[in-house]
Assembly symmetry: D2
């Protein structure tokens, strides 16, 4: 979930009609969740993922104590270029190594690069981008460049930039404007520096959260005349685009890369299966074997968490309100319980419902000494953390992201990440998962840039299924069995080159 | 798979000799599959399941060597009633025991009965039914009776009747007309005896395959004036109903009970996870641990088979043509292969694709000595069994449903059920699974019978989600966590009593 | 566990000193378990396995209603030989097919045969054998023959002979004396016919239970002068041999093939993992997914049962009294309970302790309606079945091996195999498992027959580890990684050709 | 692995310069492994574990840049005591929190403390200890104190002390002499300060590695007259004790706490099942799902690693040389391969053999780009890392414990911890596991301290089984089912209070 702390009321100050849309949007985002997107938000979006996730290395590295603002520094790389603004160009080598590590886990992008030695599907494409600046996005950006694009880049979050990666990008000649710990003013200044360059008219927008799009709308609306499309990845940004479209104000085609089946499965089931273990270990070093855990909610996230803990020898209980998911939990061998039934005996409580107030003070009061409580589901609403801020309870920060909340009788519960998403706060998102999204973004840019006039109108699109599968072919192609024969395809009533599954398949 | 499907073009013609229609029908059934239903047939329907599945007991019992046709016998139960026609009333006790065993695994129906001690939602409902006559349907029929219905029943398949169950039903007073090994003429005679009784106008139809419906259409069209609705369970029967509806010829509302999420999951994933093991053990006594198996297709059936064999210590390879399912197999830890890569080394080959000619002679030629080959997917088309009927190969029937096919060099492969569905031919369908369908049928009858005028038109309906969940509540109700609070429901934009998942969820 | 129903008091009637040993033995066997073998008997022996296990086919076939005693029939095979006595030579073809099926799953024996095309390590060995006569032993016997042995064979159990297999053996020229349903007199007559043939002095004894050995001791003690050794497989037989040895009465070397690591693991963990599912399905058709089961005892058998049910989606509880096993259960993710805690809620109760009265009437009284109760552990002592034989309870035999025991309030529990071993009574033992034992028997014969004078004294031996591994090499040899280099072996202080594990390893 | 093992031949010589002994020692340690302990070293000992393992927190905290030697500082805690020597007393609060976290996962020790409110089994026991100084040992030490002991403590390793924990101990009044980064001279100085205090005669020794014991032997042999016993936990230390015993030089009883079944299982199977995932994630952030891994060796460690990776969706191959373990791998569903077969295709290579040169340069040359190579088995010998130190290969340190080794063609492999033990270098050992050992140590002290005269001679003992189970009872007691009845115990030939398993059970 977008977590930029800038109040939106300050974000789009004077300004015309767009502002009002933004205001509406803003309120929805932070105050009450719009019922319109109710269903969708039950599942975590990559925008959440991408917002707060740091690679293992990141936490060790940003210790540069230099307090000078990058905007006040002289910026120059070893080839003499100075069209960028970053923290410290000297961190290049470390950043390059991080990028190289990431490349190992992004086979589909590397395959695209290999193909690009022949064809350059983005030749001449001027791309302006606004995403987290991490090793993984660096691999994406350098892939776009290899495909022929000219890129300028800013950060979509004031905290998430890996300075050393920005350095490595700048050293290779990318016009990147980003550092960790930007002020609000810096944030918009960076975006503006990307967009507003004499003689540089962007053709494509790659956005994560909608701020870049918003800025162009607000400051340089005429630029849209020559822009071929927007690729947007976050729930929030996609939501904004649909609002614009509904209001008749979307003036170029846009691609929603947030909703492919594969992406949803990866972000949720497969990714959480690994990150629940990683997040718990890094924060608490707890042994899983023999522990009792309750997982609240058995959607994709809950399925992943439950399976992982069970595999490590924990006894897992599941709570559910939906009978379909409840039956699935049941058939998968988990005992269905009401939370109150097991709350006294469990060692670990994990929320994955997408709902609010799933674990409330009454539950917390009854937990046993040492119980670990964390949230894998959504935002920071699932555990009623506010209810723990009362005078009789003592909070003790024992490690980064780990609080002991201590009851008057000495009982302590271990609260992780103050109830925010554990997997974003306390574990890394596997590069491989980010690779799926990044490949989709690259394919969406290629599609929009090369689409014949008229294929896309001023609307929000999903990547065509055929295209959307492409990165899967790239990744898995050599494993897939022979395609259908003519005869088999006819028998099934399918196209022999696919797609083979209905749209709703997952 | 239904063995008696009428081609729809010929389904309701003026037509003289029913026999001829039937013959045409069978050709269609076995020679070419209608491309129109292509997609749907990828998943196995309960109609398939229900067609050929015998309980463990059945095979031991039908040894009554009495050759007299039941139609020529005097039928009378211990209370003097003779409004039925079955093989042998003396088998009552054995049949009753089989029913009692089934009751243990059908908790939702038994719960419905308990509720029926107060209310009788089917009071006065005259129900005519045509289904397999097994212990499980007996529990359904006796539940309908407990709910207030008056029932008359025939078999939907000439082979599938458990004579002892029919006896137990007749003894309790049900008007049942069915025995194992009916002739074609018997089949329609039985149906007619159900429908055509002086002073007995049916109000509801419960059909499995559409033959009963067809007969009334053909012979007693006026009856439909007083019929409140049809409940149909099979793919074939549902397909016929949609055709009628499309042609404007459906004259009462109909309920399609074939397509609930739960049912699909149960029939495929959860059920096959158990029946693949059961089917292989009963036929070959093979030890799974350490064996290498290849599963062709990673849809729900393939997922179930793969998971089960892996859990028993087999090494499982998967073939797929669809990239989504391929990625799932991959993430679930199965090695994706082309069939040709592993065909020489595997001990077991299982087809689950819904396609035809997935395993062809060339593959069979290369299998190693002792390789077991079977089909879990669909019909009998997946393995090209016909290609094995050549002079140089010797077939040896070593057990019921087990053939050794012997190559000139002495190599033998073990072919199960001649390539027909293993789980229907060689294992039992767990009663619990059938219980889900049976409960849905009962609920559909209740809904149609009690619906206010005008709620349902002359069309095909799915059971309302709320109703459809009911049997899940009955089964799981006490396990489900507290429902949503007002506040939570509002937060999620959902009704606080559900449904909680979108329709496409699975 | 040996289950021959002959009272031992009748078995060894007049007779001298040996008889007293036998008497002691007998009492121990049936009345109280000898404390001396206390420990060992916690795990099931192959002797148990081999006693009661029937192949799938067996139950269908022994319906030959011919009441004439084989001893009164004229016996002749197609080559004119009549040195055998079986039920019906005409069943040859069926028996041969069963043997061929078994051969598929006995790769190590088949590999031994292949090797025997060159060398004949049993050339000239006159072997007299007394085992169950099943397809699997037939493969063993025919392998011994291929290795050069001349065999004469009797059954070690009056019920366990597969008549069709005996026919197939006789047709191929084996002197086999066995049929299903022998009388006590027949039993000893058959053994005598094996041993007592003019001009045929046995060199080797292959025994299962010790009866053949006993007979020779009793009737033809002089024969031992030329016998090179005894190979014995059952717990009981081995126990008798140790008794003889202790009493100084063992007059030839004997091999105990009951105690190899691999065998123990196979007979218990791996085999039970499969047979618990098979046994439950064949008797009750129960669906495992979502069921709650309690497994009493977490030794090897309990581990296998628990793992299998968990894998099929059941929720499994474990009871234990030993803290080591309890910790293992805990770390494997099973909830440790006292039986009384969960007895009201579980659907399935399985005993695997090797103890007696683990499930008593008090527990049975509290089980819920429909609860399935069965024993996988040991003998028939674990469930106090006798306590259910009281007037207020009704027993109803609903299928072979399945009883409903009905309480006055209508509650019924489903008791399998009357509390005897489920896997022996209601499922098949995978041929592959029997293959391990059979190979060990063959290797033991080879070793004793070829051992240089003096290597073995008049004592009971385990197969030398090197030899004992041989069948594993035969089976797995091509998979094992390269052996140790000189340097590695030196580093580890091991012989470079193994064995690589200490004797106690498992 | 112990870094300071004295060669036993040189262990107690007259010898002048300790330094020289140490040098010799290190040569022995790293160059050739004593063949004498061959077998035993196949399994990892806790001494290994305890040597190099740091808690998550440790790595973040030791940044105190104060270069003054603690020996030159004035040491004083808030109560005015100065009988200790540590880095920085101000770190008390942080250390206390770490200890509190650890307490949560050490239930058995906490239970012992609770019992100690009544009885003080170590009342008056003067204990001198030499172990790693971590949060976990702090819980042990404070438990001993609660049980009545007076303790003085030094570190057994110059690097492993958590300074903040030492501070917290000192603040509570413990005489602790330890800091991270001691010199050799510091090391012995600290030990001497523990032992050599006017008027303080130690009664018990708690040692990890044997250095403390050695020091007393060497410097204060007379002290042994009043010492009641030694408790030693490491393989190395235990080995030294057995040597002393053999040489007739052991002058007090000693307890070997390294060899309980539970401990072995925990240290290896259960612990590695978790730490392989943790170690790989923290170093590489690799996604496990869909990866191919080869595990070399299928002992307890290999079993744990294979099971964990399989559970996370990896495809796992196993190499083995021992047929028993190979069969187990096979039955557990892993494909047995020779390393050379799969080396080109795998993504992860893990060694767990206890052998040397398992992965050699030839294998490394053939790995694919990006392959991760690590060692879970033993020392640093399994991967021939030395062979990678050649001029044509470039090493790049990309993160702490992570090297890219780059081939001339650009291929890079990812080598973790330079081939040392991954779980010690790159993951934490779960506190719960350490808890088992710590409890055993406490129980051993209690036993030796309270044993009646004459129960223990001057020899090395294992903790009596009854005692050894005690901590399991403490931990699991309320879960264990009712003990045996008289009748059952008699039936089994066991004591009704246990132990219930033979000594060799595992």
């Amino acid at each position: 979930w977008r977590k930029r702390t800038l109040p939106l009321t300050q974000m789009f100050p004077p300004s015309p009609s767009l502002q009002q849309i933004q205001f509406a949007d803003q309120k929805q985002e932070f105050n009450k969740r719009p019922t319109k997107i109710g269903r969708r938000s039950l599942s975590r979006s990559i925008s959440q993922s991408s917002t707060d996730s740091y690679s293992s290395a990141a936490s060790y590295t940003d210790s540069s104590d230099d307090e000078t603002s990058p905007r006040d520094k002289q910026q120059k790389n070893s080839k003499g270029s100075s069209d960028f603004c970053i923290k410290n160009i000297k961190q290049t080598d470390f950043g390059r190594r991080e990028i190289e590590i990431a490349e190992q886990e992004m086979p589909a992008l590397m395959a695209l690069r290999k193909r690009a030695q022949g064809e350059k599907p983005l030749a001449g494409a001027k791309v302006v981008g606004c995403t987290h600046i991490t090793a993984q996005t660096a691999v994406l950006i350098e892939t776009l460049t290899a495909l022929g694009a000219q890129c300028r880049w800013a950060a979509c979050n004031i905290y998430s930039t890996q300075n050393e990666v920005a350095a490595a990008l700048a050293e290779r000649g990318l016009s990147v404007f980003a550092w960790k710990g930007e002020s609000e003013d810096d944030f918009w200044w960076c975006i503006d520096r990307c967009v507003n360059l004499e003689g540089w008219q962007p053709k494509m927008i790659l956005d994560d959260g909608g701020d870049l799009t918003h800025w162009i709308y607000k400051k340089y609306p005429n630029m849209f005349k020559k822009i071929k499309g927007i690729v947007e990845e976050s729930v929030t940004g996609v939501h904004r685009l649909y609002q614009l479209s509904k209001a008749g104000k979307l003036c170029v085609p846009a691609m929603n890369v947030n909703d492919s089946v594969t992406k949803q499965k990866f972000d949720n089931l497969y990714c959480c299966r690994e990150s629940i273990l990683d997040g718990l270990k890094r924060t608490t070093d707890v042994m899983f074997g023999g522990k009792q855990a309750v997982v609240c909610g058995y959607g994709e996230v809950g399925k992943g968490c439950s399976a992982a803990l069970k595999a490590m020898g924990a006894i897992v209980y599941v709570t559910e309100i939906d009978p379909i998911c409840a039956l699935q939990a049941c058939m998968d061998g988990f005992r269905l319980v009401k939370l109150s039934e097991v709350i006294r005996q469990v060692d670990i409580v994990i929320t994955c419902t997408g709902n609010k107030n799933v674990v409330v003070r009454e539950n917390l009061d009854r937990m046993k000494n040492g119980c670990i409580v964390c949230n894998m589901g959504h935002s920071n609403t699932e555990i009623d953390v506010a209810s723990l801020r009362t005078p009789e309870l003592t909070w003790e920060r024992v490690r980064s992201q780990v609080d002991h909340v201590i009851w008057p009788d000495g009982k302590r519960i271990v609260l992780l990440a103050e109830g925010r998403l554990l997997n974003l706060s306390c574990s890394t998102v596997p590069t491989f998962v980010l690779s799926i999204t990044a490949t989709t973004q690259a394919l969406a840019l290629i599609e929009l840039y090369n689409a014949p006039e008229g294929r896309y109108k001023q609307d929000v699109y999903l990547l065509p299924k055929k295209m959307g599968n492409m990165h899967e072919y790239i990744f898995l192609g050599h494993f897939l069995d022979e395609y259908l024969s003519e005869e088999q395809a006819k028998y099934l009533g399918l196209n022999k080159n696919g797609p083979f599954k209905p749209n709703y398949y997952r």
